[in-house]
Every structure is written in structure tokens, then in C-alpha cells.
Amino acid sequence: MSAYLTAANRLRIVKIEDIQQETPTVKSFTFKDDLCSKAKPGQFIMVWIPDVDEVPMSLSGISPHACSISVKKVGEATKTLHQRKIGDYIGIRGPFGNGFRIGKGKVMVVGGGTGTTALMPLVGSLVEENFKVTFLLGAKTKNELVSRDRIQALLPKVAGRIDVATEDGSCGSEGVITDLAEKYLNNEEFDMIYTCGPERMMYKMLLLSERFQTPLQASLERLMRCAIGICGTCVIGKFRVCRDGPVFTGEQLSKVKEEFGHFKRAFNGRKVKL
């Protein structure tokens, strides 16, 4: 190996050690990889499904013995992944990106849909550092609430609480998660908001963080090819999501407000409305 290019970018073939059905549309895949075991919460990897595609996936579990990704079935690549069995192989490179910065004090973690899985390693770190944590989880419906049980299981370890909103009211309060977040922000002060989920949701969280003058960290998604900051596919304003992100501060996002929450780039570079 040359010392030149990033060591993390080397392709490794790993065996799927375990598969968990999280919701009707989300499966978690566990594998072993030394580099991923050293990843920071919020980092992602590129997952290669030979002859099909290579797609970015956040690490949803990071531990010395095993790591995982949690995959929502949305198209060809993710459908093929869902058909993979324990013992099958996938290619990975990474971890890439910056990850979350762990602050101090009283924090709010807002997860929307599958985005919640990308917050799980962060939640693990927060719990270890013994923060006061408020978890707000949102989904369209009860069946699609990911990670709720896992977070619930961690709660006794921290000064934490969990609150849920579903759009159809099948669990927790009826409505969108940002309304719930607003309610909490109206009543209490927080030192940091962490969020991952649909971009329109995160955009609303940005506006709330500005209104309540609370720092924000949000994990973004853009189309990706290289994941090492050279191809330009993932850009939002002057930032590269794969390299400067995927986690951005509220301050950074306020500089790209015409773009964040409004449009992204297609594979051909054209602007696409969100």
C-alpha cells in the first residue's frame, strides 16, 4: 500500500455476519472491519454490490467487534442488498466524512425516518459521556419508527427521555417531529441540537435553531460518486458533503440557505427540487 492516498479508501470485501429486520422497509447488516470499528459517529461508507451499484450508507453501529449499516429499501441497489443473506459478501470503502462533534451539556437529538439509524452511534457516545438527552423520533407511521426500542433500552443509563411523533398518529403525538421539537424548545433551553432525516425536516430544524439560538449539527445526503472530495457530485454551495460533511453546523448551513432544503444536484449536475 502506498502511503499516498487515504488508507480508508481501499476497497475491502466483508462478510455479512448478521441481518436484522428493523421495520418492514429497513434491514440492518452487520460486518467486521477494523477501519469502520475506529469510525466516528456520523461517518459513512460506500457499499459496493458487485454488478449492481455502489451507494453511500451511514454506519448505524460502530463497535470494536462489529459494525453495521441500516438500509431502507428504495431502489435497485438497496433492493438487491435486502436480498443478501448472512454469509454473503459486500465491498466497502471508508469510513468517510467528518462525523458529529460531541459537545457538552443538555442535548436534543431529532431523527426523522431512516435518518434515525445514522444517529445511533452518536446516541451511543452521548450515553457514554452521560449527557442529558432528549430524543425526538418521527416517522410516517408506527411500523416505520426505527431504533426506538434500542434507544429505550439505553435510557436508564442517562438522564434521558424519548418522545415520538407519527404523521398518522399511530404512535405518540400526531404530526411532524419538528412541531414536537418546537414545543420542547419553547419550554426549555438546550446546548445542542443533533439531527438527521429528510432535508425539509432538517431545514425546519435549522430555522428553529436560529430562532431559539441553539447550535445545530445536521447530517446531510447528496448524490455521491468518489466519496473522497474530488468528483464534485455531492456539492452544496462551496461544501462537499462527502468531505466537509456529511455533518454541518447550523452556521455553515445558513450560508447555503438558497440550496439547503430547496434543491440538490442530479448525477448530470442539474438542479433538482427537493
Partner: protein
């Protein structure tokens, strides 16, 4: 004091001899501007054509020992839509030379794209006749001296801006192609584009890139690129821009000694970050000072002198 690092290439005035290479981050106006903020002396855009192109599906890049393979497949929004990005770069308060890289599937397409890019504000055009992984454009043209001459001549007839021609190393005689380009009117040459290459994963037995074959960049191709610049410098008298594996100031100086007036940087951004433009520039500057040279011109082609 005079800026030791300033260099003029085909009428373009650069405050330093580092450029962002074509296809590296150059998809949007904002990211091209960012490269200039980080210290690039000029920026080259992603190669754009007449119509939008999706590019290939992933994997489009694969790392190999001492280099990087890519077959992105020339994705771009088409030159009309890309004009907005060109204008955005030109609106910057501190404009730097903007070179628009273009490709076409025929000579007339090259001409059409060139006109739109020139109209939108390109300071120069770089003809990509050297992409190793898209059929019927790029290297299929760049491997044929008379086709190269035809494209250069027609583009030159239709735009006033200087025309750079980016050469492919995937030929037996790069000097022949270089001379054909210059005789047809090229104002500068860029050497080189990526080297046709491939990687297969032994565990899964599959070729890694979705397009199977791609182009190799990074340190692995530097000695090839140096040889190309060296050979071309002896035979042509237009400026040459060196490209391929530049990672440190030493690489840049080596290209200059071979005959390059400036260098383009691509793959190194993945390892060194955007700071690479400044670190290379600073290194060249100290080298010139240490060796008592007053300008870059003094070292261009120095290795040829006996």
C-alpha cells in the same frame, strides 16, 4: 516586489502556476470559486458537451496502489445550462482565469459547445480530446492527429479565446499529436489526461468500475506525464501545462524542468485537501529563492539544457 510565481500562458495571467484539473470539483460555479479561494492560479471546469449526460453508474472510482482509477463517464448538464455556472465564476469579486473544458462527439459539436462557453464568459477553452473511457469522443479523437487538427482548426475559427488542447498519453507517438494540434492553431497544450487502466477484485472476481475500463491518475502516472511533457517541449513552441500526479512542490518543479509552464492538480486533493494549491505554490517559491531563480520562466525546460 515582482511576483516570482506569476506566469502568463496563452494570454492568461496567472498569479501562481497551479490550476484545478478538469473534472475535479468543477461541476458548479460555487466549487470552482472555492478552488480559487484555496489558492489555485486558474480553474478548469468539468468537461461539458452539447447535451446533458448522466455518466456511468457507480462504482466510478476505485483506488489502486499509488493511484486512482475513474470512469465517471463525462456527466454534465449540457453547455447551455452550464453557462449559469460559468457566469457565477465570472461574477466573483476576485476573478481568476476560468478555462472551460469541452468535449464533442463530432467537430461541429465541439464548435457549438465552444461558442456557447465562450459567450458565457470562458477566458479560454480546453479541448478534451483525451477522455479514455467514453466512446467516440475523447481519446478516439485524441489518438488521431488529423482529427485533432480538424477540431482545433474549426474551434479556433469560431472563438476568439485561447484554445488549450488536452492530450492523451494513450498513444504511441504523443509528439505527433501535439505537433498536429499546434500546427492547427492550439495556443497551449495540457499533458496529460488519465492512462487507460483497469482493476479486478480478486475476492468477487468482478471488475470494480461499472464501466470496467477507466483512467489511472495520481502518483502512478507522474513519470509517464513527465516523459510526455519532456518529449513535447523539444518539438513545439507553445506553453505546456503539466498534469498527472502532482502532489507536492517537487512534482510541480519536476514538470517545469521537463518543460511545463504550469501544472494542473486533481487526484492529490483527495489526500492533501484543498490546501494542496498553497502548499505546492509555497514550495515552488522557496525552491526558486533557494536556487536563485527570479521567475518560473527561468526553470521551464531547464532539464533540456546541457
Amino acid at each position: 516586489m515582482r511576483n516570482r510565481l506569476a506566469i502568463e500562458i496563452a494570454e492568461l495571467k496567472l498569479t501562481n502556476p497551479t490550476m484545478l484539473a478538469a473534472g475535479i470539483l468543477g461541476m458548479t460555479g460555487a466549487s470552482l470559486r472555492e478552488a480559487s479561494v484555496w489558492g489555485a492560479g486558474a480553474v478548469v471546469t468539468k468537461s461539458v458537451g452539447l447535451k446533458p449526460r448522466e455518466g456511468y453508474s457507480n462504482p466510478t472510482v476505485a483506488q489502486v496502489d499509488c493511484g486512482l482509477l475513474n470512469a465517471i463517464g463525462l456527466p454534465n448538464p449540457g453547455v447551455s445550462e452550464f453557462s449559469e455556472e460559468i457566469k457565477e465564476v465570472k461574477q466573483s469579486e476576485t476573478p481568476i482565469p476560468l478555462i472551460v473544458s469541452i468535449y464533442g462527439f463530432s467537430t461541429s459539436e465541439f464548435v457549438k459547445v465552444a461558442k456557447v462557453a465562450a459567450e458565457a464568459g470562458a477566458d479560454a477553452l480546453e479541448l478534451n480530446v483525451s477522455c479514455p473511457h467514453v466512446r467516440d469522443t475523447g481519446a478516439e479523437i485524441g489518438q488521431n492527429p488529423s482529427l485533432v487538427a480538424e477540431v482545433v482548426e474549426e474551434v479556433k475559427k469560431n472563438v476568439l479565446q485561447p484554445v488549450f488542447v488536452k492530450l492523451t498519453p494513450n498513444v504511441a507517438d504523443i509528439v505527433g499529436v501535439a505537433k498536429a494540434a499546434v500546427e492547427a492553431g492550439a495556443d497551449a497544450l495540457v499533458a496529460v489526461n488519465t492512462v487507460r487502466a483497469m482493476a479486478i477484485d480478486v475476492e468477487t472476481t468482478r471488475p470494480i468500475l461499472s464501466n470496467r475500463i477507466g483512467g489511472l491518475s495520481g502518483p502512478a502516472i507522474k513519470p509517464i506525464a513527465i516523459r510526455c511533457v519532456y518529449e513535447i517541449y523539444r518539438e513545439v513552441d507553445v506553453p505546456i501545462v503539466g498534469c498527472g500526479g502532482v502532489t507536492s512542490w517537487r512534482d510541480a518543479v519536476e514538470f517545469m524542468l521537463a518543460g511545463a509552464s504550469a501544472v494542473q492538480i486533481g487526484t492529490a486533493i483527495s489526500a492533501k485537501g484543498m490546501g494542496v494549491f498553497k502548499s505546492v505554490t509555497r514550495g515552488i517559491s522557496s525552491y526558486l529563492k533557494r536556487k536563485g531563480f527570479r521567475s518560473i520562466e527561468e526553470i521551464v525546460g531547464l532539464s533540456h539544457r546541457s
